[in-house]
Symmetry: C2
Subunit: 413 residues, 2 copies
C-alpha cells in the first residue's frame, strides 16, 4: 500500500513555484498516495517538524487554480545547505527519523542548484543506509541557471515581466524632453547568469526600439566604454535606456555595485551603504555627461509578479511537478526532472529525468555566442530561445480589483 | 463650417492619458471637425511648431484600441509653464499666430495642476484679445490631487498597480525566514498628496494582511516612533512591510530622503547623492534593529504599467476626453472637465465642466479623517473611495507574449 508524500520549496521564490506544488499534489493524489505533507520553509522547517497536510489547504479545484496563480513559495522557503554526510550524521538521522514517523515514501524538493544538492545528499544517504524513501528534485529558479535542463520554471514569467516592464519604462522615458537628454538604467536580477537581463530585449518590436544596451554578468563591464556609448547615443536620441545585471563586474572582478563604497559612503548613522548597480551607474553618468538620469531596480517584483505570468511557464511548472511525482512513484531516486525542448516553432517541450549528481551545484551561463561581439546586446539566437517561454497569459482571479492568492490557513500571510 | 482641433498632453504621464487622447480624437471626428492635430511635447513643442495630424496615426478602430492601452504620453509631454500675460506678450502672440495658421477652433490640454494653468492663461488671453479659439482642460494625473473633481484619470490604474504589486511583495517577503526578521520599505510616488501611497492598503484582503504601516506625506513623519513600531512588530511576525510616500517629511519639514545627505554622502566621484526615502529608512532600520531590510521603489512603473490598467480608469479617461471636446464644441472655454461620483456601490460617475480658474495651481490632499489617529494607516473611508476606481481590466493586446502599444510613426519610439 502506498503511504505518504512530503514536498518542500527551497531557495528564491518565483511566480511558478506554486504551480509545481499544485502539480505534485495532484499527481500524488491521482496515483493513490495517502497524505501529502508540505514542509514549511523546506528542510530547515522539517528539522523542526514544521509541516502541514496539504489536503487541508487544497480542498477543491478552485484552490488548485488559485495556488497556480499565487506568487512566492506557498510553503515558505529556506536557504539551508545540508552538511556533508561524513561531517554530520546527526542531521541526517534526525531527518530520516521524521520521515519514518510520517511514513514518507516520496520526498519532492522544488528548487534550484542548492536545493538539488539536498536531493543528492538525501538520496545518497538513503541508498547507503537502506532507507526506502525516494528523493526527486523539481527544477525552479528565475535565474534559469540549472544544468541539463533547457530552461527552468519561473524563468518564463520573470522574462515576460521584464520584457513588459522595460517596454513600459522605455515609453515613459520618451515623454519629457530634458536639455541634455535622459539615461535610464534598469537593474535586473541574476548575479552570475544573464538570462533575466537578456530578457530585456523582449521589449524590442515593431512598436518599440527596445533597450539601447544590455549588459550581462558573464562578460566584464568596461565603465569608460559604457559612458562613451551613452554620450554618443545622446547625440542621436533624447532618451537612452540600458538594462544591466545586478552582477556586472569590472575587468578586475569588482562588482560595479561595490565601487561606490570605495570611499566614504556612509549615512548619517555611520552605516556603510551599498549602492545598487543602477544607482551607481546613474550617478556616474549624471556626473560625467551632465544629463538627467534615472535608476530603476525591478526588485523582488520580477520574481513575484504573478499578475503577468506566462502561461507556458505556469503550465510547465505544473507539468514538472507532476513528472517529479511520477518518477518517484515509479521508483526513481536521486533524480531531477528536466525540460527538453522538442521544437522552437511551434514550441513543444517534454520532460525527462536526469541524475541529480550531474546538476547539483553546477551553473549554466548564457553562451558567449548569444551576446554580440562588443558585449552590449543579446543576439537573435537568445530571443529565439526565450520567446516561446513567455507566451500566453494566466488570467488572475480578480476579487474586488486585485488578484486573489491562495489563503494560508494558520500560517503567515 | 467647423475647422480644426489641436490637442496636447502635459506633465507626468499615466496609463490613461492616451485613452483621453483617443476620446478627444473620436468626439472631434464625430462632431464634424476637419483636422485633429496633436502638439508634440505640449505647448513647448507647439511653440516650435512641432505637431502631427492624428488621423495619420489613428487610422482605424484597432489603432484607437491600441492607443487606449499605450502607456505614457503618446504625443510626448512637457513641464512648460506659460509666463504671466502681463510679463510676456510675445509667447502668447506666437501661440495664437500658430493657432490661427492651423485654423484651430478648439484647443484641448490633457494634464494636471500646471497644465490647467496653461488653459487658464490661454483662455483669458483669447477672451481679452478677441480670439475665437476655445480652451478646455482634460484632467490627468496619477497623483489624484486636482481640485473640484472626485478623482483624476490615471489614478485608478496606478492604484491598481500599487495594490497588486504591494500584495505580491508581501507574499514574497514571507518566503524566507531571517534570524532577526525582515523589514521591507516600499516607496510610492506623491510628493505632497498621499492618494497613491494610501492605495497600498488595497493589498489587504481575506488572503493578505496588507502592509503593516502606511505613511502619507500629509502628516509629519516621526522617525523614532517608526523604528519602535517596526521593532515591536518584529516581535510578533517575521516580516514587516511598510508603504511610504517619497515625500514624507519630519516635524521640522525636512524630507526624509534628504536626511542621508546631511553628512558626507558622496560617491567615488565626489558627487553628492540623494538616497531615496525607502533606502534611507531601510538602512536606518538595519542599523537600529539589526534585522534584514529591503528597499523597493515602485519607480516610473506605477505610472506606466498599462499591462495592469483599471478598466474603470481607462474608460473614464476616454470619457473625459470626449466630454472636454463636447464642451468646447458647445462653446465652453476656460473650463476643465471633472468627474462626479454619483454612487459608490454600484459605482456610478458622470462628467461636468468647472471653471478652470478654480482648479489651476490648487492641490487636493487626503483628508485628515481618512488617516487613522496615529497617522500610520488609511481608514475604511479611504478604501471605500478608491476601491471602485480599480475595478475591471483592459486586456492588453498581446503580440508574441508582450503587450503591443501604438507605434509612433516618424517620431521617437
Amino acid at each position: 500500500m502506498k503511504r505518504n508524500v512530503i514536498v518542500g520549496q527551497s531557495g528564491g521564490p518565483t511566480a511558478a513555484i506554486n504551480s509545481s506544488l499544485a502539480g505534485v499534489y495532484r499527481t500524488a493524489k491521482d496515483r493513490g498516495y495517502n497524505k501529502v505533507y508540505g514542509m514549511l520553509h523546506g528542510v530547515q522547517g522539517l528539522l523542526e517538524e514544521r509541516y502541514i497536510d496539504l489536503s487541508e489547504h487544497i480542498t477543491n479545484e478552485l484552490d488548485a487554480e488559485l495556488l497556480k496563480r499565487t506568487p512566492a513559495a506557498y510553503l515558505g522557503s529556506c536557504r539551508y545547505k545540508l552538511p556533508e554526510i561524513c561531517d554530520n550524521h546527526e542531521v541526517y538521522d534526525k531527518i530520516f527519523e521524521i520521515l519514518n514517523k510520517l511514513e514518507i515514501d516520496v520526498f519532492i524538493y522544488i528548487g534550484g542548484n542548492d536545493s538539488m544538492d539536498t536531493i543528492k545528499k538525501l538520496s545518497d544517504y538513503a541508498i547507503v543506509y537502506g532507507h526506502q524513501t525516494r528523493f526527486v528534485g523539481c527544477p525552479k529558479t528565475i535565474d534559469n541557471d540549472l544544468a541539463l535542463t533547457d530552461h527552468t520554471p519561473g524563468y518564463g514569467s520573470a522574462a515576460k515581466y521584464i520584457g513588459t516592464s522595460v517596454k513600459e519604462i522605455i515609453r515613459d522615458s520618451f515623454c519629457l524632453e530634458y536639455e541634455h537628454g535622459l539615461v535610464t538604467i534598469v537593474e535586473i536580477m541574476g548575479r552570475n547568469a544573464g538570462w533575466l537581463t537578456g530578457a530585456a530585449a523582449l521589449a524590442k518590436g515593431e512598436d518599440c526600439s527596445g533597450p539601447d544596451m544590455i549588459y550581462l554578468p558573464e562578460l566584464s563591464f568596461d565603465i569608460e566604454k559604457f559612458v562613451e556609448k551613452c554620450r554618443k547615443l545622446l547625440e542621436e536620441k533624447c532618451s537612452v535606456v540600458v538594462a544591466v545585471s545586478e552582477g556586472i563586474r569590472t575587468k578586475d572582478g569588482k562588482y560595479v555595485c561595490e565601487l561606490g563604497t570605495s570611499v566614504d559612503f556612509v549615512d548619517a548613522f555611520g552605516h556603510k551603504q551599498l549602492t545598487g548597480t543602477a544607482s551607481y551607474l546613474a550617478n556616474l553618468i549624471s556626473k560625467e555627461i551632465g544629463c538627467k538620469t534615472r535608476a530603476i531596480e525591478l526588485s523582488t517584483l520580477q520574481r513575484a509578479a504573478s499578475h503577468s505570468a506566462s502561461r507556458v511557464d505556469i503550465l510547465e511548472g505544473y507539468q514538472v511537478g507532476g513528472a517529479a511525482m511520477k518518477a518517484a512513484d515509479e521508483g526513481d531516486t536521486g533524480k531531477m526532472v528536466v525540460i527538453e525542448r522538442l521544437s522552437d516553432d511551434p514550441y513543444q517541450s517534454g520532460t525527462e529525468v536526469k541524475d541529480v549528481h550531474k546538476i547539483a551545484n553546477d551553473e549554466r551561463l548564457v553562451p558567449r555566442e548569444w551576446v554580440n561581439k562588443e558585449g552590449t546586446y543579446v543576439t537573435d539566437e537568445f530571443i529565439t530561445y526565450v520567446r516561446p517561454l513567455i507566451q500566453g497569459d494566466v488570467s488572475p482571479i480578480m476579487v474586488d480589483g486585485i488578484p486573489r492568492h491562495l489563503f494560508k490557513k494558520g500560517f503567515h500571510k
